[in-house]
Symmetry: C2
Subunit: 477 residues, 2 copies
């Protein structure tokens, strides 16, 4: 019953499945070697036993744990385990598995089986999967649902992927202001079970307009004779279906929500957003942004085929190559200077590197500030001034240190001075660029986490080379 045990159980399952797969692998290899010869009967038997044991394991595990294990397996083994997952559990596993892996699993499942796998799913899980299901399977599955649910699904699917409308789920049974607390509980008891994530019930008027919200905690602590209208809360944070999911996540964090109503522009309740969806969204955002900052697609599967993985990296590589060539041309313009004083070639990467490092720290602060809405039109100037002062301070201090080290190595005071000046200037440029690049990307509606760092490094590299070699050209040779 402890999480410790739950984690241990997961690890144990993983170990068993790995062992079964290893046995399977050895048998396959043996069979392969005896190609042409007849398969040994005994081997064949053991083979089947292995698969039966795998199948049994897959039947008892929590779908989230199965999803986890599938994600850790390389494609061929993943495929093998997936075929052993019972059809009625495949739907739940598809919901839990990460985006990149989900598509490969769907692609490798015959339409017939996929249809059966989706049948047992709850409506919001179905809606969640809609994007990856082949249209003909989707229409077959959805035609089996009742009319109201079909409408809900169609409406939810019509909203863009990162909107509240796309993520909302169906509302639990609604209440009227005039009924009493006891009436409400009696009505709930007559209904089927409530979804586990229900934390509040919604109070509607005759036209379906949201009047207020009753938390389950209020329902079980209030006097039974009280009318719902006096128990409900009317100070409610609600969302429009068009609202961006990111903003909804922030509102859940800020106001500590566990569920919130989604209403249309006439105030009618059309769905709700629950905290489990919000947590998934928050995690997805965090992990996507980390990959995208490195120039990868946010949903890259760890074990995607080599060619797909290689291609996924091309756009960024190309951008990087382009900027590196420009920086190289800056150096090329000073070849004459370098030929006269080769020490410059060894020292110039230091100037570029220190600038890039400092600038990227500023970029990280600005990106976080923008993500948390802490950077506003009102305080940008203050922040930029502060970053400039930090760079001035660090430039004087560390520029000086670098200059002294350069003198120690090359015995030239003027080389040390040029080095120190170039570092100081490049740090100031890094502060300005590190502040303005993410802000500009943000202003034109792009994600500052993508691209800020390349653009910054490009400028600090080129300027680092230019400043150092330019100053050297003026004062040293």
């Amino acid at each position: 019953m402890r999480i410790g045990r739950s984690e241990e159980r997961l690890q144990a399952s993983l170990a068993v499945i790995t062992r079964l797969l290893a046995k399977h692998h050895v048998l396959e290899a043996l069979t392969h070697r005896q190609e042409g010869a007849r398969r040994d009967l005994l081997e064949d038997l053991q083979h089947r036993q292995n698969l039966a044991e795998l199948h049994a394991r897959c039947r008892t595990m929590h779908p989230a744990d199965l999803a986890f294990i599938l994600e850790t397996l390389p494609p061929d083994q993943r495929e093998l385990v997936w075929t052993q997952v019972p059809t009625d559990r495949k739907g739940a596993v598809l919901v839990e598995v990460s985006e990149g892996v989900r598509q490969t699993l769907v692609d490798s499942t015959p339409h017939e089986a996929l249809r059966d796998a989706l049948r047992p799913l709850a409506v919001d899980d179905l809606a969640y999967l809609e994007g990856v299901i082949p249209p003909e399977v989707w229409s077959e599955v959805s035609s089996g649902l009742d009319a109201g649910t079909q409408t809900f699904l169609r409406e939810a699917a019509a909203f863009p992927e990162d909107s509240v409308g796309h993520l909302m789920s169906e509302v639990p049974p609604t209440l009227r202001e005039t009924s009493t607390v006891n009436d409400a509980i009696a009505a709930l008891r007559a209904e089927s079970a409530l979804d586990d994530h229900t934390t509040r019930l919604y109070v509607l008027d005759g036209r379906g307009v949201l009047r207020g919200v009753v938390a389950l905690t209020q329902l079980v602590t209030s006097d039974g004779m009280q009318p719902i209208g006096t128990v409900m809360s009317t100070d409610v944070v609600a969302f429009a279906p068009e609202d961006a999911a990111t903003n909804a996540v922030k509102a859940f964090e800020r106001y500590d929500l566990t569920a919130a109503p989604v209403i249309d522009d006439r105030g009618r309740l059309i769905g709700q957003l629950t905290v489990d969806t919000v947590i998934d969204q928050l995690r997805a955002e965090a992990s996507r942004s980390a990959l995208e900052q490195a120039g990868l697609r946010g949903d890259e599967d760890l074990f995607a085929p080599v060619l797909d993985s290689a291609r996924n990296r091309w756009p960024w590589l190309l951008v990087n190559l382009g900027t590196a060539f420009v920086a190289s041309r800056v150096i090329g313009a000073f070849e004459h200077t370098i030929a006269q004083l080769v020490a410059l070639a060894a020292l110039m990467p230091i100037v570029a590197s220190v600038g890039g490092n400092t600038g990227n720290q500023t970029v990280a602060l600005v990106i976080r500030g923008l993500a948390l809405d802490q950077i506003q039109g009102t305080n940008v100037r203050y922040f930029a001034r502060k970053e400039l002062q930090v760079s001035l301070l660090n430039g004087l201090l560390w520029g000086g240190v670098i200059g002294i080290v350069a003198v120690a190595f090359y015995g030239s005071a003027s080389l040390g001075l040029v080095m120190a000046a170039a570092v100081l200037l490049n740090l100031l440029i890094a502060a300005v660029v590190g502040t303005s690049v993410p802000l500009m990307l943000h202003r034109v509606g792009r994600d500052p986490a993508q691209g800020s760092s390349v653009l910054l490094t490009f400028i600090t590299d080129s300027m680092g080379f230019f400043l150092f070699l330019g100053l050297a050209h003026l004062f040293l040779v």
Copy 2:
């Protein structure tokens, strides 16, 4: 009642406060200019009106919104607004505000006022703030609580900061297996209000050992005559207080939890973990890791004093300088070669840069894989082989492209060949290092997000210079 409106209201409040602060600023400046002269009576009056309006605004805003506004303000204005926040709301604001800002607000509040500010807080909020409250204020505040709560607070505070025990809150009223659903509801009605984040109630035996869990949804849908023992669920994910908060967050995600019991090693219930805490933890982890990857302290305040900000960047700058100097010495060793063919100086940063770029993509994949537990002992070798193949493919392709461009610029086929070979080799090194560095850091118990990128760039830079200049030395001059 819409989030749209809520966001607008927040922006409107921010605008009003900014306007008031601007007026205040102008008045201060005027007063300053007339130094020595007497302050104009009218100005003085307007001054006071401003502050009164500010005070009124601060009284009606949601504490989370106030916290948000305080975070966006530079220190002097933040100070001014903070003094205008009514004392009885200051506690709630402290809970909501980010770590860096919280300490500055606490430091600027007199002990007397701080004590009064903390009085109205709930116990788990108090526990959350304990680390930043001066000890003498803390002992005064906690002595006002009842004995059981004092014990809970002492115990929770004794657990390390990123453990479940530190984050847990007090449990809601508990149930017995033998009482009926109706009894349970009657007992809840007799108690005071339930905390808003209660989603499940805990069933204990006579010794306080957890027997099961009843969701509020089950309580309101089950037949009133049924005993709790038959309604409760016994398949419960529970935590030990020593469990790492990160693992608890993952369990909440994986099993879609809204609350979970915390039990000691004898199975006795000692607290619960609720989803609002988990969301805060998840967001804090994400935002901390983004800053720490850039070598900043995770809680850096956007508007920290210049000297503090500058110092916050020194460790990373120093590491960066050290690695840059080593790379510079690698180039220094080939000064003789460069002197003979200055084009090398212009081309060498390209080799280093492409290696760093590719390696950092691998690092990002490994860090995410480790964070989500997708990389396991069983699949590391598969992943490493895949990354090597990707690098081989991209090295052949892009190394070739780079070689051709080099030939186009410098008209030397052998220079192009050396360039292509160096790029290919450096990409292979980047794949190996990009996979192994974060894995090694992870294995020795360090956070791979911190340091992986510097170490990698260090190696790809040095090796890039070494491979290119070394090959050039062998084959070109």
